[in-house]
Symmetry: C2
Subunit: 435 residues, 2 copies
Amino acid sequence: MAPPNQSSPHRVVVVGGGFGGLQACLKLARLPVEVTLVDRRNFHLFQPLAYQVATGAVSPAEICYPLRRIFRRRRNVRVVLAEVVGFDLAARRVALHDVALGTAPEALEYDTLIVSGGSQYSYFGHDEWQEYAAELKSLEGALTIRRRILEAFEAAELEPDPERQAELLTFVVVGAGPTGVEMAGQIAEIARDTRNEFRVIDTWQAKVLLVEAGERVLAAFPKRLSAKAEKSLGSLGVTSLTNHMVTGIDAEGVTIKSGEGEEKVPAGTVIWAAGVLAASVASKLAEAAGSEQDKVDRLLVEPDLTLPGYPDVLAIGDMVQVKGGDPLPGVAPVAMQMGRYAARSVRSKLRGGTSGPFKYKDKGNLATLGRARAIAELPPGIKVSGFLAWALWLGIHLWYLVGFQNRVLVFTRWGFSFLTHGRGTRLITGEQNMP
Amino acid sequence: MAPPNQSSPHRVVVVGGGFGGLQACLKLARLPVEVTLVDRRNFHLFQPLAYQVATGAVSPAEICYPLRRIFRRRRNVRVVLAEVVGFDLAARRVALHDVALGTAPEALEYDTLIVSGGSQYSYFGHDEWQEYAAELKSLEGALTIRRRILEAFEAAELEPDPERQAELLTFVVVGAGPTGVEMAGQIAEIARDTRNEFRVIDTWQAKVLLVEAGERVLAAFPKRLSAKAEKSLGSLGVTSLTNHMVTGIDAEGVTIKSGEGEEKVPAGTVIWAAGVLAASVASKLAEAAGSEQDKVDRLLVEPDLTLPGYPDVLAIGDMVQVKGGDPLPGVAPVAMQMGRYAARSVRSKLRGGTSGPFKYKDKGNLATLGRARAIAELPPGIKVSGFLAWALWLGIHLWYLVGFQNRVLVFTRWGFSFLTHGRGTRLITGEQNMP
């Protein structure tokens, strides 16, 4: 590798320690550059398993890893716990807000900026729904959902009115993408597996409704696998309502619109797994650069992932789309490949070269459907379902989990759950209705 | 075993699923009685390891176990998630508040009542201190402390003023009982083990002060072991301030009074591990029964643990003292032995007999002092310290942890921590200072 051209090393600021930012930093750490990773959380969250926190299958710390620990031996990487409040692209500066202290530390200066803010759930302009329908993007959202699911069963056990009891035992999941499908399947499994823990209610009477505006569940998969998934969900006790749209959510439940009109469905728990929006940092960057965003706030970037007019600013992951390119799914492999690409771009720049366009290598698509069942579409058009797909799902998720300890712990939890039908982390924590 | 004398089975209501209540229920489950266990949390917390949650060593779910799951195969035990709001001892009724729903379910009727509410931290009449000095009795308190410790290091890393930086890196633990000592030792270890994770601060400069009003640390142990503990703490980097009293706590730090006068010590984090009070349920019960409480609100009970004048009401655990008996320490073994005694009392009653007085069998006393160091006093006056005491501590804590899965998980965490000097659960979660 060529030595750096400058007397002081090239400074790279990476915003966001999710899949994209983490991969970028790991690769950048091997270059003669100074890396600063900014995140408002002090850990990397393995988001694909966040729904398992919500269902009491794993503990938060088992799918998270402290960012500082990842980079402890990489002396050229500095981790800063802060929220990005703005960009000054002309002065090449990132303005911060210190999350721990609540003050504004000095702005960070960069030679190359890589922004990887990810995405957040969008309530389609109905932000008032969020209070009643928690989301699964953040650890706190997952813990809120866990508390609500468990409290619904507890409340039903003490409810004397059978009608109200049935309402408390109605769970509505909005959106039948992988997260919604996995969530609905797991709630049905909780109901089935905890029957012997209650003395008044029959948890098998719980209703799990999966509401999807589109015409099939898991629309990103081939039709044949979607159909298999819907059948699997049915056998678990999940009612899939495709071509149904949620038009209202309040403390009593949801309003669902279908070809047959609108219906109010009382429900004790509503979970939001529908639309996503680019993270708010995308809009801050767009504002600073005067660049375009699509209708879900994603930045439109050049084929080399730079912002138009700003060759030293790369934006990656869920919060971008390549201008004129094929739309890419908002999944971890896209963000990881973009992160590694961004680091290679920096290496090319240090050597005085340029980068070809980013190319996504599709490695397939996986979704689990509960105990020993999953569907998978592998790149050369191979479709797999059932136990084999499930084993694949387990292996891949364990492999990509950060930290060897976390792999051992999650494997232990999954092993116990499989053998005992138990979920070890079913704790009701956080704010409670104390008298 | 004799069949029950009544046509309908004897009804036992147990309040509290801590060490005492849990042991009572486990033993009662084998009798021809109907047991209702009331707790406001849906899990049993293994409180002796709560401080390890606060230091990021283990995850909450690894030291907790859902109460319903414990009793799933014991059909005569019913678990009710509710807060006890009052007792009507004449009508033999317990009034509840439904924690999940926020409503008041029907009162529970009992033939025998066993109350095991435990204890809570007392701020010696200074409830305003709680905001700045979190406690370790609840899971939420432990998570608050975890967040504050980790945020103090993060804030120091971004703080340009060296004086303020040193203040942020000052940790004050109030109270040098086993919890305070273990907490102080672990904070010192975090500082030592995370040195390579920070780029600006030197975590070895962190100051850990252990403030104790009494004349030595771990006063429940023999003098020789106290002295060893203080030496061990010193070598870890903890400054023990015995004969020092905290007279004030606010957002800036603590005020400490000693023979040399009062001094204001600025500190980023203050942890409360000093006095305890009986749980508030003890006062509710005292009010209903017109019974006496001692100066820390503990109920004074008869030698058979019944309330004076109420032979069908037993009170056990940290929240009681036997009238005229030797004072018993507020530790898990006392509560567990009292719980089993209470169940045996019910069995005697069913058989028409009575119970002799409760006798505590002291099995010794243990405290850990960080990596591979602990002190132990075993019953026949044997004093052990160092690695052997530490191995004993590990074994006993793993043994008494509820749930085989939790034992495997905690053992895994401890193994990794020992080998890598890492703490896997160092996540900053909960409310943050977002802009």
